[in-house]
């Protein structure tokens, strides 16, 4: 009897320790691991950009050969999330993709393209790039940096929607059959931060397209050194 009680007690204590360990894993380890992978993706991308272009069919945009799932092809800079806030944009929105940066919804437009450039990012754990996306307001800017261009998007509105609101990814959000004429931006993350009952959406439109050699747009100038390094 005594042995049985002790055995049960040990099992319960062990289970408690495992739960605590899981909390530590989520709050510390996933961020550590995601930041490591994100840095790696950033470095690989900067390096590939430093090399002379191989597939030189440049319409001022990203070469199609760079579109491998999980591979970085652009950077997002959002000054409203922090002076030096910058994350690589990887292709795909699966969990492994979102650990490597922020994820581009496949089949949505590319940065600067007519249509809707849609990106998802974690809001809690796993690097939590969009932890404070609720601090992004209309009038703020989101800059997409590609190999050859800077695309500055202006935030028009933010909205909390239901998780099945696929319409936010439409080329013209909410109008699935309309032919897009504008270059739009959609960012998605979970809402509330530690929940999944909704999605927080940031909508924007392209304000300025600027060739890379002209230097970063004025809103990013304070981290010019980092961007060109």
């Amino acid at each position: 009897m005594r042995h049985a009680v002790r055995g049960v007690g040990e099992v319960l204590i062990t289970a408690g320790l495992i739960v605590l360990l899981f909390v530590a894993y989520e709050l510390v380890w996933t961020n550590f691991e995601a930041n490591r992978q994100t840095d790696q993706v950033s470095n690989t991308l900067r390096h590939s950009w430093a090399d002379p272009p191989v597939t030189g069919h440049g319409s001022g945009n990203v070469a199609s050969s760079t579109f491998v799932k999980g591979k970085g092809f652009a950077f997002l800079h959002i000054p409203a999330l922090g002076k030096n806030w910058s994350r690589p944009v990887v292709e795909g929105v699966s969990l492994p993709d979102l650990t490597r940066g922020v994820g581009h919804y496949p089949e949505t437009a590319l940065p600067g393209e007519v249509g809707n450039f849609a990106v998802a990012g974690h809001r809690a754990t796993n690097g939590e790039p969009f932890a404070y996306l609720d601090k992004v307001h209309p009038g703020d800017v989101v800059v997409a940096e590609t190999r050859t261009m800077w695309f500055t998007y202006l935030v028009d509105r933010t909205k909390v929607v239901s998780p099945d609101s696929f319409w936010v990814l439409d080329p013209v959000p909410g109008h699935p059959n309309r032919q897009p004429t504008q270059q739009l931006l959609t960012l998605t993350t979970c809402n509330p931060r530690w929940g999944s009952t909704g999605r927080l959406i940031v909508f924007g439109h392209l304000e300025e397209a600027r060739i890379k050699s002209a230097g970063p747009p004025a809103v990013l100038v304070h981290h010019k050194k980092k961007a060109t390094a």
């Binding site: 099992v11 062990t14 894993y25 754990t125 796993n126 969009f130 929607v161 998780p163 993350t189 999605r199």
Partner: protein, 53 residues
């Protein structure tokens, strides 16, 4: 449980301590690389995309 493991470890005390540590490390590694990534999928705050269902 732990007493039973301790009794069944071979060797003198220092060796048992080492083996115990190795076992703990192995269990934590298994949790971090297999169990936790699997359990994580059930957490609500990882759902950041909109979907069509």
């Amino acid at each position: 449980m732990y007493a039973w493991i301790w009794r069944n470890l071979p060797g003198p005390v220092p060796v048992r301590v080492l083996i115990s540590l190795a076992l703990v490390v192995a269990v934590v590694a298994l949790l971090f690389t297999v169990v936790f990534p699997w359990a994580e999928k059930a957490l609500p705050f990882l759902h950041v995309t909109v979907n069509s269902q």
